[in-house]
Amino acid sequence: MKDYLVLRVIAKLMIAFMLLFALYVQFHGDFGPGGGFQAGVIAAAAIIFYAIIYGLPAARAVVPDRLVETMVAAGVLLYAGVGVAGLLLGGNYLDYFVLARDPVDGQHRGIFWVEMGVLITVAGVMLKIFYLFAGREEDEG
């Protein structure tokens, strides 16, 4: 769909807002609906939208395969790392109360990093699956 001028312009306008909405859903998840999973899916959808309009090579240039594959593992490691941080600070695994001096601040900090881990893994997996499906044809040709 590279030749459709209207689609290209509208996509360019919308993708910025989609990514911004993903960030809003992520960081406002403590107060409104949303969280890491939703934000990750929305961010991945924005990149997939970009790939549909501008072609897979363009999307792979923006978000390379290597980065996506790193994200798949990095999110889980970050999540599990928050648990280990709790252990090192003298609490239980995934105990957020010890992450800051004030227990409520510790909860905020723990939830923030855990949700970040979910976002990274979910966005990475969604993008990777899309890249593999959409890239099948090129490899066969």
């Binding site: 959808a45 889980v76 909860q107 939830i111 949700e115 881990g117 997996v125 699956i129 899309f130 099948r136």
Partner: protein, 178 residues
Amino acid sequence: MIIVALLVMMAITTVVIALRRNLLAVVILAGIYSFLMATVLVALDAVDVAMTEAAVGAGISTVLFLGALHLGGGEEMQPLHKPFLPLMVAVATGAVLVYGTLGLPAFSDAGAPIHQHVAPRYVQEGLRETGVPNIVTAVLASYRGYDTLGETTVVFTAGIGVIVLLRRLRRRKREGKP
């Protein structure tokens, strides 16, 4: 009322999906079904789930289905067998499930067992203990942190599975070429 209307529309969509042989139409109808489901979830005040349904069910899976159609062709094969045995199995399973719902507590019954176990503590103490006004986030990320770690691992495993399957195909093809 609006939920009943939406559920009727979802039922109609399902029947049309079952009858259609053109897979492009089926994919689009499945996307419509997901949007209807997301609307039902909004009407039930489960906005978090609705967001996921709209983004994954209607968005990303539709794109993946379209990609699969592009690779595999757009017409469904004529069924090889008579549909009566699968139909009977489906009807029997549905009847058992409906029978099961008769034993459930009424919808939004505050005295139901699920609202008596740990839920009152989350609702009453959640804000004080975690400082997070959205109880869904507090439960998911803090109280049920282990479960969410497990879920993230499931997503990770699914991604790794797809990578392993599709990549191996690609490499074999490359080796096969001179």
